[in-house]
């Protein structure tokens, strides 16, 4: 029973994001691959294949490009309607474009052959169906991965080390400074509430930042002077939609690997910037070479990288490097304010 309830947990069927470079290139590649198959099927001998390819490409490419442009332009509208209606709309666009281009094709001009038109429409519908089916399968294949990623996120995030140390710090406040202890427990409760909700939908960057601030407040409680944080926040980036827990685990790592191993004060720098339609996050912390055996960093990075890929495909990137004694993480992703 339990297994089933997890399986039912997948994302609802949805059209892919037609503005995404990964989606566009997948459509281009798969449609052209199908066209090659058609050409192969219709050639009786190998010499004929090249001619067939040219013929099909001539009628296919203009239609394909127009369809992609229309889908790109209409993606916001398409996302607002239900999946089945959206699918019908996509088919209408594909068939309409195919029919509109038909009179301009050389074959059709000579003989306005209805059978040729029907053949073209049939091929277009078949290709659109195949591509839609592919994206549907991909969506289903990835949705358990997203719930899996969410579970992993729950387990990997918020180290037990942090929880127990924070509880210990709060206990130390209760007798001397009950007000501060109350505030700390409230922060802790809110932090865990955020971590435990369904983490699959994108959230506003503003909320992710405030989560990080709550987390850092708690760390400040026990680390005091040793923890210094410098935020550089571009106000125009605050509306951006980002995967939840995209920053908090990185901030937690920065404390764990960058601040705790040092006796003196250490600085964490977080900068968030919007450049046109790209969002840039950068986080740096002191690098302690001797403490690299401490676990957890790579797991968190792999987890975030995976979720960025699920949400933004090839349009997001995560890079790390060590420069001037500091560990740097840079994330780039599309700036989006609506789904």
């Amino acid at each position: 029973m339990k297994v089933q309830s997890i399986r039912q947990n997948h994302l609802p069927d949805a059209l892919p994001d037609f503005r995404n470079l990964g989606v566009i290139s997948r459509i281009l590649l798969s449609v052209n691959a199908l066209a090659l198959l058609f050409a192969l099927a219709r050639s009786r001998e190998i010499g004929e294949f090249a001619a067939r390819v040219t013929e099909i490409a001539g009628s296919l490419e203009p239609v394909l490009l127009v369809v992609i442009v229309v889908l790109y332009a209409g993606s916001t509208l398409l996302e607002r309607i239900a999946y089945v209606q959206g699918l019908l709309a996509v088919f209408a666009i594909v068939l309409g474009t195919t029919a509109a281009f038909f009179p301009f094709l050389s074959v059709a001009a000579s003989s306005s052959d209805w059978r040729e038109l029907a053949w073209n429409l049939g091929c277009a519908a078949l290709m659109a169906g195949a591509v839609a089916w592919y994206f549907n399968l991909r969506n289903r294949a990835f949705s358990p991965a997203i719930s899996e990623a969410r579970l992993q996120a729950l387990q990997a995030r918020i180290r037990p080390h942090f929880l127990f140390n924070t509880l210990n710090a709060v206990l130390s406040l209760i007798r001397k400074d009950p007000k501060r202890a109350e505030g700390a427990l409230e922060d802790l409760a809110e932090l865990f509430r955020t971590v435990m909700v369904d983490n699959r939908q994108l959230i506003a960057l503003r909320d992710e930042v405030s989560l990080c601030r709550q987390y850092l407040n708690l760390e400040q409680l026990r680390l005091g002077e040793r923890l210094r944080v410098d935020w550089r926040l571009d106000p125009s980036a605050e509306d951006a939609l980002v995967p939840p827990m995209v920053l908090q685990p990185l901030v937690e790592n920065a404390v764990y690997h960058g601040i705790e191993p040092g006796i003196g004060p250490g600085l964490i720098e977080v900068s968030i910037e919007r450049r046109n339609d790209r969002l840039w996050l950068q986080l740096t912390n002191p690098y302690h070479e001797d403490y690299q055996h401490r676990q957890g960093n790579r797991m968190a990075l792999a987890n975030i990288r995976e979720r960025l890929q699920l949400h933004f495909d090839v349009e997001a990137s995560l890079n790390t490097r060590i420069a001037n004694g500091r560990y740097e993480i840079g994330i780039a992703m599309p700036y989006r304010t609506s789904l």
């Binding site: 080390h161 127990f164 206990l171 130390s172 409680l221 680390l223």
Partner: protein, 250 residues
């Protein structure tokens, strides 16, 4: 009974103040005095030596020197205090404590557990170096030398060579020599590639080797010797070790 002298070593101020409160709660059942506090291992060693502590409460997870390395250095003192480890969450260390039947406390610490551990420690339960080595197989960052009742720390990176002489080892840095009670074989195992054996009785730090020269006479034969960075002294390489050492000559 004389009150038990307790020292707290933890890098987090709230954690120290929490332990102080809990100690206060145990005062009626186990008379004690707080003999000192420190925020890291190196400070802790001085505080312990200066305060004649009976028991040290030490956090495992500290910057620069872990609680376990701290406890290893304590053992060079003539009367090392009993050690009670405190940890928030360290699966590996906790397993090692269980295996070796060592007392430890988990954060947040309970007053009842603290009291039980203090009573046991006051009754003279002591650590041994062997047990500590098995808990933390990671190499130390310092060698420790007892001098006039204090613990001197020598960073491993400053050690140029170690030579066995009767019961002790001579540990040479650029500035001076120290006598330590350790075994060359164990050091060789602990630090892996940091030191290279050039003679039955001598380990040299790779990073301080500047080169080799021929001409030193060992065991009646002319052999090779090591030229060291910053020291005029030459160390003879035994014929048996030369086969391995010469690969460093490059």
């Amino acid at each position: 009974m004389k009150p038990v002298r307790v020292v707290i070593v933890d890098d987090e101020q709230p954690a120290r103040s929490r332990l102080r409160e809990l100690l206060e709660d145990c005062q009626a059942e186990l008379p004690h005095v707080l003999a000192g506090e420190a925020a890291n291992g190196a400070e802790g060693l001085q505080v312990v030596a200066a305060s004649e502590a009976d028991v040290v409460l030490v956090d495992i997870h500290m910057p620069e020197m872990s609680g376990i390395e701290f406890a290893r250095h304590l053992q060079v003192l003539e009367h090392p205090p009993a050690v009670i480890f405190v940890t928030a969450h360290d699966q590996y260390a906790v397993e090692a404590f269980e295996v070796n039947a060592l007392d430890y406390l988990t954060k947040p610490v309970r007053a009842a557990r603290l009291l039980a551990a203090l009573k046991k420690a006051a009754n003279g339960a002591r650590l041994t170096r062997g047990v500590l080595d098995s808990i933390d197989p990671a190499p130390r960052r310092h060698f420790s030398v007892a001098e006039r009742g204090r613990v001197m720390l020598v960073p491993v990176s400053e050690v140029i060579y170690l030579r066995a002489e009767l019961k002790y080892l001579t540990l040479r840095t650029r500035d001076r020599e120290y006598l330590v009670e350790e075994s060359l074989t164990q050091i060789e195992q602990e630090f892996g590639t940091v030191f290279v054996r050039i003679h039955r009785n001598c380990l040299v730090a790779r990073r301080w080797i500047r080169g080799f020269e021929r001409g030193a006479e060992t065991e009646g034969e002319v052999g090779w010797s090591v030229i060291l960075e910053g020291l005029d002294e030459r160390l003879p390489v035994s014929r048996r070790q030369w086969a391995q050492v010469k690969s460093l000559a490059g």
